[in-house]
């Protein structure tokens, strides 16, 4: 049991860190430009496909990863300049409709390029096996994801909390007009944020590729989780996105793995078997409702 808990806690941490890579970009886009971008999940899918294709072509996972990040950053900038920029002034319904259309287009484009069968993406050969950890074995590749996730989350956190650029981003997220009148070109700053957000989506896409299937529609489910994360964390807040991701990642993972077992100890096995998965799948929404009841603006509101 302890081993299961530790293992699932690590899985939860790993999933939470990957969620953070998506949620970071999403929360800043929402916070600074007041823009709901549903196509954020498509950047994640695009990153996974581009990464898989580049890995197969080059034979190196690392090259695949870097290619996919650079490629999606470029695609993100083009998307922002040509299309999304026109949506900032529109209301949220227009943004939702337009970026939902982008999801459909992205899914079709991917299907045309790579077909509708899921792509296989193997982890780097030297990380394919398990490693011994505290007396039990854990997949080496998952440890790599945790390490990369912690590193990137740490760098991003430093960028946002310790640098002048980070101050501008936070200022822009909480009061765009005031940032402008102090001399910050929020539009250009935002294009940069968008490029970084797209690259982080790509990183999450290719890292999760070997664990989940690289397939059309993979962006949608994770997009919903990312929205839950940023609402919990407080829209526009990087710290909120980090805490929210770790919460959602671990509650979701641990809930799914442990809840049926826990229920079995208090109710009849038949009921536990049916109720367990059902409750587990809505656990994060219960978490969100609870947090919003207690703090309607989320944990770390960026706006005054």
């Amino acid at each position: 049991m302890t081993q299961l808990v530790i293992e699932q806690a690590l899985n939860g941490l790993q999933f939470g860190l990957m969620l953070f890579l998506l949620a970071a970009g999403l929360t800043l886009v929402f916070g600074i430009m007041d823009m709901i971008n549903l196509s954020h999940g498509s950047l994640y899918m695009g990153g996974a496909y581009l990464g898989a294709a580049a890995t197969h072509a080059s034979g190196s996972f690392l090259i695949g990863m870097l290619t996919s990040m650079a490629g999606m950053a470029v695609i993100g900038v083009l998307l922002e300049i040509t299309l999304l920029r026109k949506l900032y002034q529109r209301d949220h319904l227009v943004q939702v409709l337009a970026t939902f259309a982008l999801i459909l287009i992205a899914n079709e484009v991917v299907r045309m390029l790579w077909g509708s069968k899921p792509l296989m993406l193997n982890p780097p050969a030297n990380l394919a096996g398990p490693v011994e950890l505290l007396g039990f074995s854990y997949p080496a590749y998952r440890l790599l994801i945790i390490a990369v996730g912690i590193t990137v989350a740490g760098l991003l956190y430093l960028l946002v909390t310790r640098t002048r650029t980070g101050m501008w981003v936070r200022a822009g997220a909480s009061n765009r007009e005031m940032a402008e009148v102090l001399g910050i070109n929020v539009r250009r700053l935002f294009t940069g944020v968008f490029a970084l957000g797209a690259a982080l989506c790509a990183l999450a896409g290719i890292l999760l590729g070997p664990l989940l299937a690289v397939q059309v529609g993979m962006g949608e489910s994770i997009l919903i989780l990312s929205f839950v994360v940023i609402v919990i964390g407080g829209i526009g807040s990087i710290r909120g996105a980090l805490i929210g991701s770790l919460l959602v990642g671990s509650v979701d993972t641990l809930g799914r793995a442990l809840l049926p077992t826990l229920l079995r100890s208090v109710t009849a096995p038949e009921i536990a078997r049916q109720l367990g998965p059902a409750i587990a799948s809505i656990l994060i929404y219960l978490l969100m409702a609870g947090i919003l009841f207690w703090r309607p603006q989320g944990l770390f509101p960026a706006r005054g």
Partner: protein, 236 residues
């Protein structure tokens, strides 16, 4: 003395509803000027037009000889205009020190530029609060921070919109004192406020607007001499 800001016959609207009809105002380098008028007459809107937030439907605005109407707010700011806005607009998620570091520049080529340390020496309360977030400050501290933040850009023109509103008398005095010492070092200032007598002591000349039109312009002496103007146009 050369003209720094020159507003000529400006008109502007929020969408369909026209708010400014005919505003003119010129401020020379090193002068302190005021913009006066009752509530809702268009003072803040005039400031928003200067800062590039709303387009002009007529007239023009020149800063240091170059037309700025049509520029983006960030471009206008970089030319050397800084705003202490109505409602202070402190960033809740930046610390006091970050407010003073993030936008620091020397846009006027000041030989003794405003820095974090210099702002802290003028407003010692802020130094004690250096690592507090903007939303943890009192109203008075927020106002000092808003002024300090504008000063760290070392602006050629400092604009203050209702900087003493809602403050305790002692803090208000501190702000007036600060403005007087800014004037003494040659800072050009445009100020909007309700305390006419204080403004007469502080400023060189005044512009009164009513329903988006300039209705009176003159020196401090002229405004001081005729309290009828106060009653007619300012309701005090």
């Amino acid at each position: 003395m050369s003209t720094l800001l020159d507003i000529r016959h400006v008109a502007a609207a929020y969408g369909e509803s026209q708010v400014l009809f005919d505003i003119s105002l010129a401020i020379g380098e090193g002068e302190v000027a005021t913009l006066l008028g009752r509530n809702g007459m268009g003072k803040t809107t005039t400031i928003r037009a200067i800062c590039g937030f709303i387009p002009l439907s007529a007239g023009c605005i020149e800063f240091s000889g170059a037309t700025i109407a049509g520029d983006r707010p960030a471009q206008i700011a970089k030319r050397g205009i800084a705003l202490v806005p109505e409602g202070r607009q402190i960033f809740p998620n930046l610390t006091v020190k970050e407010h003073l570091l993030a936008f620091a520049a020397n846009r006027s080529g000041n030989r003794d530029p405003w820095t974090v340390a210099k702002v802290f020496s003028v407003f010692p309360q802020l130094a004690e609060r250096a690592n507090h977030l903007g939303n943890q400050l009192s109203g008075g501290e927020q106002q000092m921070l808003a002024i300090g933040r504008a000063l760290t850009t070392n602006p050629r023109l400092l604009i203050l919109d209702e900087a003493t509103e809602g403050l305790a008398p002692l803090i208000r005095e501190e702000i007036w004192h600060c403005l007087a010492s800014l004037r003494a070092v040659g800072q050009t200032i445009l100020v909007i406020d309700k305390y006419v007598q204080r403004l007469i002591n502080l400023a060189d000349h005044h512009t009164i607007i009513e329903k988006g039109r300039g209705v009176w312009q003159g020196s401090s002496a002229a405004l001081d001499a005729d309290h009828g103007i106060w009653h007619r146009h300012l309701g005090v």
